[in-house]
Symmetry: C2
């Protein structure tokens, strides 16, 4: 099916159910390959499931490859997009442009190898290979099929100087360092360099956010991790001035740990993909400070009522994944900060087929 | 049971399950009447259920008085607090101080008539009258029983110059105008007075927020309401410069309506207690602008991914219910703005026992 009239830049013409909502909020999209004039069709090579979704899928299916494949294929067949019905989240993808509509404003041409910077939760997608090459152990999913980009979607041509899986992993979380950078700069403007605490600092979005905070003028970066293993990784990276081990779900322990390391924080960045970190993040933050929630496991009510419940005058930010220049900023960090690059390369190789299995 | 050692100012000693979390995140609290030294016990007179919780309860039970009473009593008996298990939200209460522990920092004395400014979702509560005086039609619930305040809870003595139910209704939503005022002032500083759109401007938090925005320097206040009835109410109040009718769940219609009224908005305030307003709020907001989500029906992922999905560089704020001075600011608005007072008086009398039933 090809659209005859002009498409909506937001992709509204692809929404099947319920009518009138945006593609992200829709239950089901039309993922047929014919293009509206302002659309682009991508031959998919790899999906990158977001961490909260991957964790939920692994828990719900038991994590075996056949069950993981079947569940992702079932969701995509049913919804026309890879939006985890439990977490609401998606991820992103890489692939090669197959066809660009005559009116597409994205500046892409057939043959371009790209990453999407809009969520899979709103991207029309068809899987044609049953995900046969996926072992179910990695968030990065080799995939054959096609995806559709709208006029207002964001995509970026993959850099030639970085391996594809590495670039994909960086793009997936590039909103986090960009917003961390902006908020840290604002906190630093004309005042004492702020203390920034990053929960989950040895992870992908966490390590990028820690590097971005330091570059944006943080006076002290406190990295919080759950285990001694991750603490060793973070210490070796040099990305944090202080490394503390604490369970981010235990508010009292977390707040005490951050205080002991030089806090409370003027800016607290939540990059932990488990539920229940809202209260601790609030308690670890100084009055007048800001918490940025990047974790898709964040509960809106828990954050709002948790801050109110302890009379904390903190600004609570929902981590908008789009900040102008976010991809360039994150790629710059991965190129210039060996500590970030090391964490990403270890994570990408661990989770790659044939790499060390997560246990 | 009376505590022998010092209580935690956060109320951690009242958490029964699961251990270690804050009272707001707990499944079950110890609501026994004996006081720890820094606690206060209140003889409850009235609960004010939050709008999202009330709507959910009415939908789930059918709305009849016996079923509504039974469901609220069941939740409170099971959890030791009135936290709706579906919405996660609570509300607040009024009552009279019965006993204040020797170490309580709240400055309250037996006999003080107070309102709590922390959520019911973290306040230990016992109901002793089966809510016999509640007709199930109002968010305000006459109630006998007791509640416990912690050292770091917030409560305020009710003003003598305002009727109790009116004051309670104002206190319940006083975080919204305070944060709206702060964000509008920041947007106004040294620049063109900003356009502020309030979704649900004829409601309680919405009318207060509209008044607060104007007072804080908004150049134009756009009030969005769903029906002609509410539009008439809002026009009569004089609180908005422009009144538009639109379904806030329809992003395209909403964004067009706000633009047609002088938008997009620099600040969009979401005071609509139904799910699905995230995308529209983002689309109605100018690049570089801010959306403040006060509705407890807000989905974290829908907001984060919705903004990313349309490449909107907007700041997304979780409406923290605590801002210093929030009660005083809201009470000042209700005293000085006849438009706000009229909306509140109509809402409170409509929903009072013997008043006009909501249909």
């Amino acid at each position: 099916m090809t659209g005859s009239g002009p498409g909506s830049p937001l992709g509204l013409h692809r929404v099947l159910d319920p009518a009138g909502v945006l593609p992200q909020a829709a239950w089901r999209l039309d993922a047929s390959p014919g293009l509206w004039p302002d659309e682009v069709r991508v031959r998919v090579e790899r999906l990158n499931l977001d961490a909260a979704s991957f964790r939920q899928l692994r828990g719900a299916t038991g994590g075996g490859a056949p069950a993981m494949r079947a569940e992702v294929c079932r969701i995509v067949a049913e919804r026309g997009k890879m939006q985890n019905p439990v977490t609401g989240s998606g991820g992103m993808l890489t692939g090669v442009v197959e066809e660009a509509g005559a009116d597409s404003p994205l500046g892409l041409a057939p043959g371009d190898r790209i990453a999407t910077l809009v969520s899979l939760s709103l991207t029309p997608l068809v899987i044609t290979d049953g995900l046969a090459a996926w072992d179910g152990r990695s968030e990065q999913v080799p995939c054959q099929g096609h995806a559709i980009l709208f006029g207002r979607s964001i995509a970026t041509v993959l850099p030639a100087d970085l391996p594809g899986p590495l670039a994909l992993a960086v793009m997936d979380v590039c909103g986090a360092p960009a917003l961390t950078s902006r908020v840290t700069s604002q906190a630093a403007a004309g005042r004492t360099p702020p203390v920034v605490a990053v929960l989950g600092a040895a992870g992908k979005s966490g390590s990028l956010s820690a590097a971005a905070a330091r570059k944006a003028g943080a006076g002290r970066v406190i990295g919080v991790v759950p285990t001694e293993d991750e603490a060793a990784t973070l210490r070796a990276s040099g990305l944090a001035d202080e490394v503390v081990i604490a369970d981010a779900r235990d508010p009292v322990v977390l707040a005490a740990a951050v205080r002991g390391a030089g806090g409370p924080a003027a800016v607290t960045v939540v990059c932990v993909d488990v539920p229940g970190c809202e209260g601790g993040a609030v308690l670890a933050t100084a009055d007048g400070g800001t918490v940025i929630f990047f974790s898709m496991a964040t509960s809106f009510t828990a954050a709002a009522l948790g801050a109110e419940g302890v009379a904390a005058d903190v600004t609570l930010l929902i981590g908008n994944g789009y900040v102008p220049g976010h991809a360039a900023l994150a790629l710059d960090l991965i190129r210039c900060e060996p500590g970030v690059r090391g964490i990403f390369e270890a994570r990408v190789s661990e989770s790659a087929p044939g790499g060390r299995a997560e246990t």
